[in-house]
Amino acid sequence: MTTEERQLADMLHRITPEPPRQVTVEDVAFRLASDAGKEPRRRLTSRRGWAPALAAASIVVIAGASAGLATALTSHSSHNPAPGGGAPVSSASSQNSSPAPSPASPAQTAPAGTPLRIADGMWDAKLITRQSFTQGTLAGSGNSLYVASADGLDRIDLASGRIVQSVPYSPPIPQRPVVIGNTVWVVWSYSGGDIILRGYDSTTLAQVASVPVPAIGGVASPAAGVLAAGPDGKLYVAAGDSVATVDPAAGRVTHRISLAGGRVSSVAVAPDGSRLYVGTGPAGSLRLLVYDLATGNQALSSQMSLNGAGNLVATSGGVWGTTGIGMSEWVWFAPGGDLTRSFRVSQGAGAGLDSLPTSSGGAVWIGGTHELVCASPATGKAMARTIIPADHSIVEHFGSVTALGGRAYALYQDDAAHLSGVASLTPPRACSG
């Protein structure tokens, strides 16, 4: 080796960091089990229009056991050209490189023309907004969607698909915005002992509140899904060794539930406000604590082996979460918040993409790169599912689904076609619950 080569080798060894976690035999076993059960990815269509004879196929929508079997047929054809004939969106910075200086100034990022048909038209999928957004950050209310991009928090008008407001914001952790009344709440800062929540007007995105939430003992890492809204209009925040209750009207912490040990990595509130679900535990496992919110007493505790923060979502029948990493990721449902009764609901995403459950419009939605599922919030059973096609064998991704006005909206990514943005979907009637 020459001197320069030795210097390069020394530098690589010196600067390359230690990994945050090790790969275990169990990870590899999950991968093997997962890969063995994976059916070959179906090429549902021949894209780019060179073989029209192959451009018709069907997607089988398999309803869950409780809902019977339903079949939906969609036609497949080549990708339409980009709306307006523009170049594909490559990244947020290429489209939205200058942060919006004022919450009232619309960003010039939305497409013009007819929405682009995507993913072979599964569930009538159309791209209504072309822009790179941060995974897992889409939420909706009224006639608006709220989502984080590389540069800010954006409000998208549902009717036009245009980004009509934007304010500077960078999500510190995976967290959907939470909408309460006319205020959109986001986690602005989440590190060390300091958490800051910010509230924005749901129409103008003008900042209306900033609430510091001290994290006792420091925040958990990893953490995801640390902010939840209760039916009482309160916010629940994973705050170190405690869960803090924030009264948005008062703009301060009004109550805390302290844990005996372990930092809270995720939190969720039952839709009826009766139960608080708290995820904690040492690395590599999740301890799920269930609190009776009326009395403040702990009602249940169970534990499972888990990679990640849990990403809890509460519904009437129990709690949902995500475990695993990479291609071994999947979503589980624990009836009544009891992990010993939990079962797997859907295959995850992999390749750095997420598969997080969301509860919206009377169903639980689970995206990913394999399939899109709507499941019963009461039983955890799939009510309908559809295969997400691949584009030239490269995965397409739907995530962070939110339902509004009979339609569903999801963040979409197709690396092969350099497409990303917000997709609108028309799910089958079974997804209405």
């Binding site: 320069e4 080798a9 390359t16 275990t24 590899v28 089990a33 990244s91 499972m304 992990l339």
Partner: protein
Amino acid sequence: MRLRAEEFGQACRGVTEVLLVDDRPPEPDGFRDFVEARSGALLRSGWLLTGDWPSAEDLVQTALAAAWPRWATLTRQDAPELYVRKIMVNTFLRWRQRRWNGEIATGRLPELKAYGDAFAQIDARQALIAALDRLPPRQRAVVVLRYFADQTETQTAAAMGCSVGAVKAHASKALARLREAPGLAELMTGGVAS
């Protein structure tokens, strides 16, 4: 074979037992020791190849899953790590052929802070990954195998399925490109620890 719902329920109580209900071969002798001993180094190589930890884990898991059924043969040949690294590199090259990574060519890389800066480590890592991002995939793979995994030119050529001459050419071109990367020469002669 997919895990059934009830099996996953059992998995919550004892996760490893349930995994053995499928039809994959049983865990081979010595596999666990290897994973425990070498996954850190493999992950670091994966990070240099991909630039982020989730992709690095994906890469290492893929390679180890491929090695699992062949483990007895690999250990007889005394070369399990070489094989795993070969799978990693080939998987990485395949991904780079197929995936668009959202990279945007920029004329200016992040400036390095002073070494005494508390953020110097992070800056150094970012500068390193930015410099590696400038390399074509095969040059990047040669850099990782030759200069981080300390493989010989012959071993690198075997892993990449090319000639020793091609490895030398890739290494030479990679060094030339890295030489031009802003801040990297300073890192190569400087002293920011990981």
